[in-house]
């Protein structure tokens, strides 16, 4: 008789922010775990080849390798974090393409173990019930099956481990995390904060809340303020899979990690109504294998996870695994960004920053907090990120005319102080904003490519106009000179906060996942990355993905122990 015992207790697909967390929690609870990632291995420290590279050692001094980027990194090279010090972490768009309809959706992806946890912006904010109740309140999308009280202890669990620096503010719309000491505002940011809070008593400016350590924490080193975190940090000062969750999972002795493992699909047994295994293609040898397990955690990134489900078809699920509702792929969201204002601040000419702070300031949402504001022609709201800076040599060179000794001497002095704030706007969930498969266009493994259908709509546009207007007014009221407001034209994906497509909900006919991130249709399948999101809030989502992941693991393991799944 064939041995039907699964090879692993659990398989985790993906090793980024949520995959790493799932692996850590599952292995620490004693489960034998296989973690898969389609990308190549990156070892902490050793493979951060761009870290601390001085500018004179960067090819072409940081100018883009135009032909290579146009050919192989058409989408990825548009990221602020992409250059020759980080390119080795990013997806090769020629090798791993999607159907890129110009101007529709920019899908930013890593292609390494650790995923975007190596590259992320590290801003972390808790959601509040303003967010979890948003859909119910205005009727866009379906209600979340959970509330703040359900997730609050899991936020704490995550924060205690990853380390979050920030300032407690006691705001109902932005609950405080468990904070390490906050980073310091610049003298100009403090000046602008005072100006804004004096003129707009209901608004607040606080230091950014960031998963970067301001003191040693859990064996990781404090930030040394070198600047470009995305090159990797061998001190482990920012949270990544490599710095934090992977060492913890490895320490249990329960983890098997396979890199270069492209998931072709998840197998499903209609008799037991369970996922039985994961079909994998070796990215280098094209060798195929199937791994079996009692539990599957799908953490491949919003679009990647939904791609795996859409690719996993069977007689029971002809439109994709766990898709009896038909909503899989739909309700894709992102934040709008790049809208805000810039102004110059007089004075403080004798002051500069010391060190490069990997963080800025945050102005929490102040719009539509208690019902709809009378002067707001849009639903929901936005928050601002920003920072002050002194104009540097590069910008000054474009402004200082002439050449010679005087020119050189002028560039020795930093330019005027400027203050920038840019809004992240909440996007409503729209059914037709979606991820689908294009079976006419296949990748090198024979799988259909992902295609997007996406647009920001009237509500997002009206919100952008308000973001620009309020930003300009705040900077002006705070005494800034030459204030320029601007309405950005970011498209879907530019926020790199893509979420939705396998949303949570109480009703199995309208959602893919229940309140535990468990597939309604397949009880041993959990999706805990951004795909699960039912609405988008306006705050950066990664912390919420992490908290949902650890909450789901806790539930799944208890269910497994009780033989419920």
């Amino acid at each position: 008789m064939m041995d039907t015992t699964p090879q692993f207790d659990a398989i985790v697909i993906g090793s980024g922010v949520t995959g790493g967390w799932a692996a850590k929690e599952l292995t620490e609870k004693g489960l034998k775990v296989l973690m898969l990632d389609r990308g190549r291995m990156v070892e902490h420290g050793r493979d951060y080849t761009g870290e601390h590279t001085p500018p004179w050692d960067i090819p072409y001094r940081g100018k883009p390798l135009r032909q290579l980027y146009a050919d192989d990194y058409k989408v990825q090279s548009q990221s602020y974090a992409f250059d020759e010090t980080t390119r080795h972490f990013f997806n090769n768009d020629a090798k791993n393409p999607y159907v890129h309809d110009e101007g529709v959706f920019n899908w930013f992806r890593a292609d390494v173990v650790g995923g975007k946890s190596l590259l992320w912006g590290r801003q972390v904010y808790r959601w509040s019930d303003l967010d979890f109740e948003a859909n119910k309140r205005d009727g866009h999308g379906i209600d979340w099956p959970i509330r703040y009280r359900d997730i609050a202890p899991w936020y704490s669990h995550v924060e205690q481990f990853i380390g979050v620096s920030g300032q407690a503010e006691n705001l109902p719309q932005l609950p405080d995390s468990e904070f390490l000491p906050p980073m310091e505002m610049t003298v100009v940011e403090k000046h602008v904060k005072q100006g804004i809070e004096t003129k707009f008593p209901e608004r607040k400016m606080t230091i950014g809340r960031v998963a970067v350590l301001t003191q040693p924490h859990n064996g990781r080193g404090a930030c040394h303020y070198c600047g470009p975190c995305q090159r990797g940090c061998s001190a482990g000062a920012y949270f990544s899979t490599q710095s934090s969750t992977l060492p913890a999972a490895r320490a249990t002795g329960n983890l098997t990690l396979k890199s270069d493992a492209v998931v072709a699909g998840i197998d499903y047994d209609p008799e037991t109504e369970r996922a039985t295994g994961v079909r994998v293609i070796d990215a280098n040898t094209r060798e195929r294998a199937t791994y079996t397990a009692k539990l599957v955690f799908l953490c491949a990134g919003t679009v990647g996870s939904t791609q795996v489900l859409l690719n996993s078809t069977s007689a029971a699920f002809p439109d994709g695994l766990a898709n009896s509702s038909g909503v899989l792929g739909r309700y894709l969201m992102d934040h709008t960004l790049g809208t805000g204002a810039l102004g110059y601040i007089d004075g403080f000419q004798d002051k500069v920053s010391y060190g490069s702070r990997p963080n800025g300031i945050y102005i929490p949402r102040f719009r539509n907090l208690d019902g709809q504001d009378a002067d707001a022609d849009f639903l929901r709201g936005y928050g601002y990120q920003g920072q002050s800076f002194r104009m540097g040599w590069s910008a000054l060179a474009g402004k200082v005319p002439g050449y010679g000794a005087e020119f050189k001497h002028a560039l020795r002095q930093p330019g005027p102080w400027a203050m920038y704030i840019g809004g992240f706007g909440e996007c409503l969930p729209y059914e037709s904003n979606q991820v689908m498969l294009d079976s006419n266009q296949r990748d090198r493994f024979g799988s259909p490519q992902v295609r997007f259908q996406f647009s920001f709509r009237d509500n997002e546009q009206k919100m952008r106009e308000d973001i620009a207007k309020q930003a300009g007014e705040m900077l002006t009221q705070a005494g800034a000179q030459g204030v320029q407001s601007f309405v950005g034209n970011s498209i879907g994906g530019d926020g790199i906060h893509e979420m939705g497509t396998a949303r949570m909900g109480a009703d199995p006919t309208q959602s893919v996942l229940n309140g535990w991130n468990q597939a309604h249709d397949v009880p041993n399948l959990f999706v805990t990355d951004g795909a699960c999101m039912t609405s988008a809030s306006c705050v950066n989502p990664s912390l919420t993905y992490m908290a949902l992941t650890v909450r789901a693991v806790d539930y799944a393991v208890k269910q497994l122990q009780q033989e419920q799944i």
């Binding site: 548009q78 310091e184 003298v187 100009v188 790049g338 000419q349 590069s394 050449y403 560039l411």
Partner: protein
């Protein structure tokens, strides 16, 4: 337009009387002061680039652009990185400087007096100031270089980038601390006296 064609044109413009001196001057030894690994520009172009680099960022109390290796950087960019359009604009700019100094004092740029060279370069700066580039696109994508930007704009950009990202420019003219170890948002500029490179 190729350099050779431009020289023909300059001879035509200056007339037969000047043509002999033009030819003589252009054939004269105008060798570079430093040797490029790329060794790509003809001697007179290399010499012009070296002169221009130090005209834009001269040696003062700190080393200038040539000492920082900027001419090599410019050659690398112009030869390997520039598009055909950009390269043509750059090389035509070098030729235009020669034409100017030829007309003024019958010598190519690299042999002309300092006064004439300054006048030639300032003319290029004036021309560049009249250029209207495409409107800036306010998107979240990184700004792209304007391929059609005029010679002076291109030259100044390369000298500035090459200088301040060089080890000399970053550590002697400006300040570079790779691992600061702490952050302050209220630091006395007088303690460093020059700006950070980041």
């Amino acid at each position: 337009m190729q350099r050779r064609e431009l020289l023909k044109l300059s001879v035509a413009l200056l007339g037969a009387a000047a043509s002999a001196s033009v030819s003589r001057a252009l054939l004269a030894d105008c060798g570079p002061r430093t040797i490029s690994d790329a060794a790509a520009f003809p001697g007179s172009q290399r010499a012009s680039v070296e002169l221009l680099a130090d005209m834009i960022i001269p040696t003062t109390d700190t080393p200038g652009a040539v000492a920082a290796g900027v001419p090599d950087f410019i050659e690398t960019i112009v030869r390997q990185w520039y598009t055909d359009t950009e390269r043509t604009i750059f090389l035509q700019g070098l030729d235009a400087l020669d034409v100017y100094t030829m007309q003024s004092e019958g010598k190519p740029f690299c042999q002309a007096s300092e006064t004439t060279r300054l006048a030639a370069l300032t003319e290029q700066e004036t021309l560049a100031a009249q250029y209207q580039g495409p409107p800036p696109q306010r998107t979240v994508s990184k700004p792209k270089d304007d391929e059609n930007a005029p010679f002076f704009t291109k030259l100044k950009e390369l000298v500035v980038l090459g200088y301040y990202t060089s080890e000399v420019g970053a550590t002697e003219e400006l300040k570079y601390v790779p691992v600061p170890g702490a952050f302050s948002g209220n630091f006395d500029f007088s303690k460093i006296g020059r700006q950070w490179i980041y």
